[in-house]
């Protein structure tokens, strides 16, 4: 349920990303909103198991491949790797505060760009390893949007937390039975 809701939110972010060009003054680079979702899932190891983080990463990448017209599998592979990398990093680094969140989004965007270019070169050798010059600008845009998007995702994820949902359901049942329930 939570993974599905996360994917729907992720898909909306991807669709937003696909139309953000309409507003952008420089029509070349867009912030990687889908990647932020993957980073969020990876950086919340206490809420997401490795398999669910990996599945969300894979599905987000797969959807991104379809939405963006990129060869299938490129973003699926990269986002999957990013989700697991973010998870590995999250055990050693507590990402708190605006600056650290923005920095994390920036670094994640750079790493993802590098991986995308490498994977792209493997499946279409004629494209070479070019394209990384755009990565810093893309990273900056992603970093600028990182803190608000990560905050929003944390809020949504908090509402969809199975434990909280159970508490909410129990409270609603108790209220329906007229028994009431002490506030947490």
């Amino acid at each position: 349920m939570r993974s599905l809701a996360t994917l729907v939110v992720g898909l909306l972010l991807l669709l937003l990303q696909s139309t953000v060009m309409e507003f952008a003054p420089v029509h070349l680079v867009t912030p990687s909103l889908g990647l932020l979702m993957v980073v969020y899932v990876g950086m919340a190891p206490l809420k997401w198991t490795p398999s669910s983080a990996a599945l969300v990463g894979f599905c987000m990448g797969y959807l991104f491949d379809l939405v963006s017209g990129a060869p299938r599998g490129v973003h699926a592979f990269v986002f999957l790797a990013m989700a697991l990398t973010a998870r590995a990093v999250a055990w050693r680094l507590a990402v708190r505060g605006l600056v650290l969140k923005a920095a994390t989004a920036f670094v994640a965007s750079l790493v993802a760009a590098f991986l995308i270019v490498v994977v792209r070169a493997q499946i279409s050798p004629e494209t070479g390893y070019g394209g990384l010059r755009q990565a810093p600008l893309e990273g900056l845009l992603t970093a600028a949007l990182g803190p608000p998007v990560l905050w929003l995702l944390a809020r949504l994820d908090g509402r969809l937390d199975p434990a909280l949902l159970r508490v909410g359901l129990a409270r609603r049942r108790a209220r329906a039975l007229g028994q009431g329930m002490p506030q947490r």
């Binding site: 898909l11 309409e22 959807l63 017209g69 060869p71 699926a76 592979f77 994977v119 279409s124």
Partner: protein, 299 residues
């Protein structure tokens, strides 16, 4: 039987490994047949495309609204007394200009459609360059679903846009001429020299390069580049202008950087050439197929 904790760990590892295996399988499939879309892909695209189209329409409307708002703020700063009247007139003028520009664009498109003897379909661009590492645009056809096939040329009144890369229902992906995977046969009308136009990887701007042009052809800065008529594109369509020359002293060829005439960032409507022009080079219509709609199409 494994203890629960161990079993859980095994389950986690299996799922993660399966995800990696599936993604590697997808990559292998993409390398072999980039145009292939599975029924699942088509299903997802069928669900997503209308939402994507609605997002694009909403984004354009919001963009117009924001533009009007910015204009109004600007006028207020200039003259408070005339703000309301001036703002209204300006926004009306802006709207009229937009309408006129749109009308001109449509006229150009219609003019091009009349001028190009090939059979074409009009399509609306609903997304472009979602990933900066793949120069791809997504279009939606109003009619003619099923006629569009991989490899078909896409053009506008400004010039060459690219080729259809893959299709699903009424939406199709265009591999833009600025993508390194794209290859279009072009000619320099001034010298008659021919070469292959390819996108330049790693460029912040939209740039292409002509490869395999003989040194003897002596291209110059500012030279017009046009389609040769081979590969399905109508002959003499504008492609761009030579902006930089890189001579290869060791070989016989020279690499030529081309700035495209088409502003890819502002694409809104395009024409898909679904049937080659009758007078085109024989190679253009090499493999004609008779479609169910009575139009001749090719792969």
């Amino acid at each position: 039987m494994f203890p629960t904790g161990h079993r859980q760990k095994v389950r986690e590892v299996v799922i993660v490994a399966a995800a990696f295996v599936v993604s590697l399988f997808l990559l292998r499939q993409s390398a072999r047949s980039p145009e292939y879309l599975s029924p699942l892909d088509r299903g997802i695209l069928t669900l997503v495309s209308p939402v994507q189209s609605a997002f694009a329409t909403l984004a354009r409307s919001l963009g117009r609204f924001a533009g009007r708002y910015v204009d109004l703020v600007h006028v207020r700063a200039e003259n408070e007394g005339l703000r309301i009247e001036n703002g209204r007139l300006r926004s009306e003028l802006l709207q009229a200009k937009r309408d006129a520009a749109e009308s001109v664009r449509y006229q150009h498109l219609l003019g091009l459609r009349d001028a190009v003897t090939a059979e074409t379909l009009v399509a609306r661009v609903i997304a472009i360059d979602v990933s900066p590492y793949f120069r791809v645009a997504r279009i939606q056809l109003d009619r003619g679903e099923g006629l569009v096939q991989r490899g078909m040329p896409v053009i506008t009144s400004e010039g060459v846009v690219g080729r259809i890369n893959r299709t699903s229902g009424e939406t199709s992906d265009i591999l833009l001429a600025v993508d390194p995977r794209s290859a279009i046969d072009v000619v320099l009308p001034r010298t008659g020299g021919r070469g292959i136009l390819k996108g330049k990887p790693g460029e912040n701007g939209y740039r292409c390069a002509i490869e395999y042009l003989m040194q003897g052809e002596q291209a110059r800065d500012g030279d017009v580049v046009a389609t040769s008529g081979l590969g399905g594109f109508p002959r003499d369509l504008p492609v761009g202008r030579v902006s930089k020359l890189v001579k290869n002293s060791a070989g016989l060829t020279q690499d030529i950087e081309v700035t495209p005439d088409v502003d890819f960032g502002r694409l809104s409507e395009v024409l898909v050439v679904v049937a080659p022009p009758p007078s085109a080079d024989p190679e253009a219509g090499k493999k004609p197929l008779q479609s169910s709609h009575g139009l001749t199409v090719y792969r």
